[in-house]
């Protein structure tokens, strides 16, 4: 086959365009997942990933709904459900069950015989004490993959800690906020502190690792026939991402500190103020630095600061130089100058830049809409919703959103009938007894 370089983007789009996803098969349509987590968006993101790829996810909430439906900015609700939950309920069936009651736990154990993956976020040992932990469920279903989320994990000196799992505490333990934010004394007293990411990044990382681990277990089960227990701490999940921080302590007993918009290893890899906003700009290897000094027409800086070491040593001075250059340029003009140099190969080196986006700026860019990154879903129960779509483009088994959310207990009849043979009368009784 001869290659036609110019047609690569066209070809890549042709084979991965998410607009055509519904015409293609789903990779995980042979998996059934029971997500019994409580107020935990790591667990919810894990089951979202599996649901996006086609698994049948049964989301189990206590009667009245999970507290996750209440975690919403300013407490805003849409048709009774908080905004965060509307994002992570996609493609999931919703049932209710009261695990505080023995009858509820018995039904849970029966449901768990029919599924491939159970997800929970109870305090470690809680499900086991109730007789519905991995030890008990796996006896009846040895192929079961059991994924449990908690801050400190299921084993180790602090595993018995009764604290609930939250994104903010997971972020704190991970080490990321310690190295994020304005250095002491450089900003206001209020802002010169360790700083968390604005989104629930630890929960999203934790959920990603949970789904990843469950998938490795599914692959192994195909040959071994055995399920297993997965212990996932979102704090440790994010810890795995803390660059070389522990390595540096090990090698040199150095602890990485906050540097605001600078980086301890390279320069420039930074945010600079422009005429109308801020821009990120990078050109940190020697050759890319040469490119950047060409763009800003300051060959003298290349001569004076030829190595990474010399640039890091004077990064504050160089940061001021870059801001001086950008002071009379808009962020778009900064990007245009960078792209003119890079795209037209006007000299050596590659430079990257980007305008600092508020979310509304991102939503205004056609690139993301063309690629199906955002979708306006017409949900039968919740109406029109703007959602971020699954982030993968795949040629054979693309992920997709089928529906956004379901009301509390909306699938009780279907799920309990299908898996446990419980008819309408029986469900009515269970509901009256507070079990559903």
């Amino acid at each position: 086959m001869t290659s036609e370089p110019h047609s690569w983007p066209r070809y890549a789009k042709e084979i991965t365009d998410p607009a055509l996803a519904h015409e293609k098969p789903e990779a995980l349509d042979d998996l059934r997942v029971l997500d019994a987590s409580s107020g935990n968006f790591a667990a919810l993101f894990a089951s979202s990933i599996l649901a996006e790829f086609g698994a049948e996810v049964i989301r189990l909430e206590p009667p009245g709904g999970d507290v996750a439906r209440l975690f919403s900015p300013q407490g805003v609700k849409h048709r009774g459900t908080g905004l965060a939950y509307l994002v992570e309920a996609r493609n999931k069936r919703h049932i209710t069950l009261n695990l505080d009651l023995p009858a509820g736990r018995e039904l849970f154990a029966r449901l768990a015989r029919h599924v491939d993956v159970v997800i929970e976020s109870a305090k470690p040992g809680q499900m086991d004490a109730w007789g519905v932990g991995y030890r008990q469920l796996s006896a009846a279903n040895p192929r079961l993959i059991y994924l449990a989320f908690s801050t400190y994990g299921q084993f180790g000196p602090r595993a018995a800690s009764p604290i609930p799992d939250y994104d903010i505490t997971d972020q704190a333990l991970s080490g990321t906020p310690y190295t994020t934010g304005e250095p002491a004394g450089e900003g206001t007293p209020e802002s010169s502190v360790p700083t968390r990411q604005g989104n629930w990044i630890a929960w999203y990382i934790g959920g990603g690792w949970g789904a990843f681990a469950a998938l490795t277990a599914v692959i192994w089960r195909a040959t071994s026939g055995q399920g297993q227990f997965i212990d996932c701490s979102p704090a440790e999940a994010e810890m795995r991402f803390t660059d070389y921080d522990v390595h540096w302590y090990h090698a040199a007993r150095r602890t990485r500190e906050r540097l605001g918009a600078l980086n301890v290893s390279v320069f420039p890899y930074t945010l600079i103020k422009t005429k109308d906003s801020y821009s990120f700009i990078a050109g940190f290897s020697d050759i890319n630095w040469a490119g950047l000094t060409n763009i800003i027409q300051r060959p003298d800086l290349k001569e004076r600061f030829p190595t990474t070491k010399t640039r890091i040593g004077e990064s504050k001075l160089l940061h001021r130089e870059l801001e001086g250059w950008a002071a009379n340029l808009t962020s778009q003009e900064v990007l245009d100058r960078v792209q003119d140099y890079v795209a037209n190969k006007r000299g050596p080196g590659t430079v990257a830049s980007a305008r600092l986006n508020r979310p509304s700026d991102t939503l205004a860019e056609s690139h993301w809409w063309e690629r199906g990154v955002f979708e306006k879903i017409e949900d039968p129960d919740y109406g029109e919703l703007l959602l971020q779509a699954p982030p993968w483009k795949m040629s054979r088994t693309p992920p997709r959103i089928k529906w956004a959310c379901r009301p509390v207990g909306a699938d009780n009849e279907m799920v309990y009938l299908k898996y446990l043979g419980l008819g309408r009368e029986r469900l009515r009784t269970l509901k009256a007894e507070g079990v559903l």
């Binding site: 507290v67 965060a84 604005g198 990843f212 810890m239 890899y269 990078a282 040629s395 088994t397």
Partner: protein
């Protein structure tokens, strides 16, 4: 079931038994042609769970991450930035601009299950070693193309990207930090790391599909799109209300109370979203009546911004003269979440993390004792593991070219002389430690 739960879990997950257990991805080979963090982690995570990872680098300099190390200071001639993304890999140096290099590379791809690259869109297609070419020889291949903006679409062509570009364009920086202050970068390369995790997760999905059908496939993953996915309620709120999310400091706008608190010896994070947790916090504060205050009694009233600010002011004041450990202890006792804002030393010295292998110690034949962040999820039957540390450029040339392609040592030597196959530059980041070089200096011509 007389054994206590925690005695049972201790044995079930015992770190000392990890190497006696099987690996989920045993028998899967990953070929990577990647640099920096996004691409290498995509392969690395698969390697942690048993895949064999062959890392091809362009000799003699190799992966750019070999030159990203704190304060530009190298350790035993290695970049500290190169270790966390490259575990237990086989390092091969091949010049892909040479036709013979391309041939070698294609033969490796024909013997691989997964290929990961992070060049700018279309680069490998132009080099004739892209998806269209590789799948001809190996239709079972799962081809993962990592990038900043994707393989197609208006921003995809000719635009360079790094982690922080993704942080910037996704809106993540725009919703982080304190209102009215200059924007800050995340302390870690979060867009790369999260992206690597997302890409490797999709790879497992593709592997599952291939196990059923025999079909490989193409995966286009853009790190900016990974971060957009992670911005929780940002987009849905915009769609429903038109509100543009901005930075809100450290407090969580959706869970109240949840904030960072300055205390006597550092910072802690505290959260008590559920009402019973909040009641516990009020008891810990010596003010149980606070839990009945109409401004604070339920999560829904605490979420009202004015109430949240009033409550957090009280909590900040209460915490200021306490210690980190004291506050953590109160959380344990009263059932709310309170954890230290940990730094690298805290984690390095943490017995809990050591016992769990979240801080992973091992003895590398070239670098000696290594301490790193270990595999994230803990699996009872097929636990992840790290075997050896990243190695200099071309370290495993013979091992890989002999074992996988059946080349003789003489043939490899010829290829090295023609500079098709290569090793490290004489430069920190690329080369072995001085000790090793001293011990392995070949005696001058003596045949």
């Amino acid at each position: 079931m007389t054994e206590s739960y925690f005695d049972w879990t201790r044995k079930l997950f015992d770190r000392a038994r990890i190497f006696d257990k099987p690996e989920a991805l045993r028998g899967i080979r990953v070929l990577e042609l990647t640099t920096l963090v996004l691409g290498p982690t995509t392969a690395d995570f698969l390697g942690e769970f048993g895949a064999e990872v062959v890392k091809v680098e362009l000799p003699p300099g190799g992966d750019t991450m070999r030159y990203v190390t704190p304060e530009a200071t190298y350790w035993q001639n290695a970049s500290l930035g190169f270790f966390p993304t490259n575990h237990s890999k086989y390092h091969v140096g091949i010049d892909l601009h040479a036709p013979e290099g391309k041939e070698l590379f294609k033969r490796l791809a024909a013997k691989s299950d997964i290929f990961v690259e992070n060049f700018r869109a279309g680069t490998l297609d132009k080099w004739e070693i892209g998806y269209r070419q590789l799948r001809e020889a190996n239709p079972r291949l799962i081809y993962v193309a990592d990038s900043g903006f994707g393989q197609w679409g208006p921003f995809s062509q000719g635009r360079a990207s790094y982690d922080a570009v993704a942080q910037t364009v996704s809106g993540m920086i725009g919703i982080t930090g304190f209102p009215g202050r200059p924007p800050i970068l995340c302390g870690i390369f979060v867009g790369d790391w999260f992206g690597g995790l997302m890409a490797s997760t999709a790879t497992l999905v593709a592997l599952h599909h291939r196990n059923k059908t025999g079909e490989g496939q193409f995966i286009d993953f853009a790190q900016s799109e990974g971060l957009i996915r992670s911005l929780d309620w940002t987009w849905v709120r915009h769609g429903l209300t038109g509100q543009d999310r901005g930075p809100a400091g450290n407090r969580d706008e959706a869970i109240v109370p949840a904030d960072f608190l300055a205390c006597r010896d550092g910072f802690v994070a505290l959260a008590a979203g559920r009402d019973e947790e909040f009641q516990g916090l009020c008891v810990a504060m010596g003010n149980p009546a606070l839990a009945k205050d109409p401004r604070f009694a339920t999560l829904e009233v605490r979420q009202v911004p004015a109430n949240a600010e009033a409550l957090l002011a009280l909590i900040r004041k209460w915490a200021a003269d306490k210690s980190r450990a004291g506050l953590e202890g109160l959380g344990e006792k009263h059932g709310f979440a309170c954890c230290r804002v940990a730094n690298a030393e805290d984690r390095y010295r943490d017995e809990h993390l050591r016992e769990r292998g979240a801080v992973w110690q091992y003895d590398d034949p070239l670098y000696g004792p290594m301490v790193e962040q270990g595999p994230a999820p803990k699996l009872s039957a097929t636990p992840g593991r790290m075997r050896w540390a990243a190695k200099p450029v071309g370290w495993h040339n013979e091992e890989v070219l002999t074992r996988l392609l059946g080349l003789s040592p003489g043939r490899i030597k010829q290829l090295e002389e023609k500079k098709v196959v290569g090793r490290w530059a004489d430069r920190p980041g690329a080369k072995p430690p001085d000790e090793w070089l001293k011990a392995h200096t070949e005696p001058k011509e003596q045949s």
